[in-house]
Amino acid sequence: MDLSYGAAAEAFRAEVSAFLSLHWPPPSDLRGADLKAFVRTFRALATGEGYLYRTIPKRYGGSEQPVDVIKAQVIREEFQRARAPMEVGGNGMNMTVPTLLEKGTEEQKELFIRKTVEGDYIWGQGYSEPGSGSDLASVRTKGELSADGTKWIINGQKIWTSQGMQSTHMFMLVRTEPDAPKHDGITYLLIDLDQPGVTRRPIRQMTGEEGDHTFCEFFFDNAETPVSWQVGDRGQGWYVSRTTLKHERASIGGADGLGKQFAKLVDLAEEVGRIGDPIVRDKLAQIEGAVLAHRYSSYRIFSCAAAGEDPGPVALMMKLLLTEIGHEMALLAQELIGEHAFIEPAGAGGRGNRGPRGPEKWLDQIMGSLGNSIAGGASNIQRNIIGERGLGLPRDLAMSGER
């Protein structure tokens, strides 16, 4: 075992660091549109150096670099250290672009990838519906061809769309062949959300979080999209969507984030004067055991990726592990904040202008940790995945016909 990245990586680190010291941060008086323009130029320069959009071909605005997880890690670390912006985030980069690269037509790639990379197009995910959660292939939002066969006409409802209020476009699963078997009647469509047939509404969350940054639900009332914006064959949308979900799972994780949150929990115990309490110390160290297991397992998965080896079932466990640790932290935080639990934290959900906040701010984590058991594959589905794909247990009879 050796956790150093090696001399070549350290030389590369020096290059990245030199680049950053030249181009970041922006002048401190830059504001508004000027700041946005600066960030845009910075990203273009960083892409030119091969630091960003490494898996995206140059002709679509990427830097088209050979796969190198060590270099990618060094770039992440140096950008984080400098607090420099990396790639634009969100569903577009995580899901639309990889799907289009794998399954899109040349026209679709030309139309969408560069605009997404440059942050002009923001993508919402149109998968879940009020009646379709874990059983995603049961979607009922309907797509019908227009009389002239050039457009899909869409009717129905989608829900739980992140960045929904900002989204310019959506990728969605729509039932186009109502008589076909469940999985074979779905088509994967891209749609422009700026049209009269689309209505969006933010969902107020249990944390109280609301407003422009929260999840949305979407209503489609004879919304339209060109047939040429259909990805993959008609009726094959389920299989197209498998590409993107895979990418979403791979992008949830973040051992450093968990470690930082644990450090804050220790700070909380100090702040409320409970750090000397043997029960609190024991519980903290118990949680830290799991936090470290998660961290070192992420090293293991990373190391296997660098060597081109399969890490085995542990990779399937990381999301559930993260979720379970979040619950444990929530339970201890709940004990530690005591009567601060009477107070609703300013800026619910941790957003917005909120000023200084006391220990009650942990209510955001205490409630937010519940969201982790649901988003990106619910915990009970994760347990099925670990049991069936990881341990080789037989599929549930109710789902044995599923794919």
Partner: protein, 352 residues
């Protein structure tokens, strides 16, 4: 950057696994569990014939990670014998040999100990330990119990407060007890304060290093056992049928098994890290050892409890054998200090 096992490390584990499958099959475990011995010469000799005894000698080209990988397989097989004590005795004696002219360590030849290593015959003590001919067991400084004490030639006392001593069996008063852990039976041991030779004083960093290494090796034993009972449970769930189908198809059990695996598989990296940190002498090595011992020993007990529950009635029988790992889990947990004790240490080391 490398943080997964090499092909060579996997091959060592396979060799140990195969050797124990031959020399320590479940029939032998059953017979041993009902017998009075606290040591099994056949499986011990088979393991030592692989050359494992010298893994922690500074010139072996191996380290604590390799030793931990071997202890993991020993835990998986619920192997008899004081493997951890033997490995640590070699690590200790290789650095400070109490017998004249034998030291390979930086301190050079030491003064003759007051007792002669008669049991070693003509060969140097270190060689006799490496070959497994001389058997050493570990006695934790705060404990009155040691595994395979009746068979041991030497006791390696590791005590963070008092240092490390090597004591010949002749100076130890050993009282056999009916041991709960049937695969690695403990006896009660009393050793006079001035018996044997001090190899390292408490102030010598080697004393704490050896204590930390012991924690990592017990954590590795626990990892192997926890994985073993998880594997047994998964295999049983695929084969056992109720209501006309394999019980592993039912979500209630599937989710229990998923949680067993979720507790064990990520914890593997905790053992790797603690061993790597010890080998590289990283500043957080002592804390990593404490965290690994605490976390893995809790995990092992929980896994064996869950395994019995997952099996149902058959798991509660003596002859199915799950109880051997359950008992070993209880022993690993209590040995060298409980999880709570090591978590307290870890908290203090972290400065909170």
């Amino acid at each position: 950057m490398h943080f997964h096992l090499t092909e060579e490390q996997k091959a060592i584990q396979d060799a140990v696994r195969g050797t124990l499958a031959d020399s320590w099959p479940i029939e032998r475990v059953h017979a041993f569990a009902d017998g009075d011995e606290d040591f099994d010469r056949t499986s011990w000799d088979a393991l030592m014939a692989l050359g494992l005894g010298g893994m922690l000698a500074p010139d072996s080209g191996m380290g604590l990670l390799d030793a931990a990988l071997v202890c993991e397989v020993a835990g998986e097989a619920a192997a008899a014998g004081p493997l951890i004590g033997q490995l640590l005795a070699v690590a200790a004696v290789a650095v400070h040999n109490p017998f004249s002219g034998e030291s390979r360590g930086p301190e050079g030849p030491a003064a003759n100990a007051s007792w002669a290593p008669a049991f070693a015959g003509e060969q140097p003590l270190l060689d006799a330990l490496i070959s497994g001919e001389v058997v050493a067991t570990l006695l934790h400084g705060d404990s009155e119990y040691a595994p395979s004490a009746r068979a041991a030639d030497l006791f390696l006392i590791v005590d963070r407060a008092k240092g490390v001593r090597l004591v010949p069996a002749a100076e130890a008063a050993i009282e056999a007890v009916k041991a709960a852990d049937r695969t690695r039976p403990m006896s009660k041991v009393a050793i006079p304060e001035d018996a044997g030779e001090t190899l390292f004083t408490a102030a010598d960093p080697m004393a704490a290093r050896l204590a930390d290494a012991a924690l990592v090796l017990v954590a590795a034993d626990a990892l192997g056992g926890a994985q073993k009972v998880t594997d047994m449970s998964v295999a049983y769930a695929k084969e056992r049928e109720q209501f006309g189908q394999p019980i592993g198809r039912f979500q209630a059990l599937k989710h229990q098994l998923a949680h067993m695996a979720l507790a064990v598989e990520p914890a593997r990296a905790l053992v790797w890290y603690a061993a790597y940190a010890w080998d590289a002498a990283l500043p957080d090595a002592p804390r990593a050892a404490a965290m690994a011992k605490a976390h893995l020993c809790d995990t092992y007990v929980n896994a064996t409890r869950a395994a019995v529950a997952a099996h149902g009635g058959i798991g509660y029988t003596w002859e199915y054998g799950l109880n051997y790992w359950f008992r070993r889990a209880m022993a690993d947990r209590a040995w060298l200090g409980s999880p709570a004790e090591h978590r307290t240490r870890a908290a203090t080391i972290a400065g909170w």
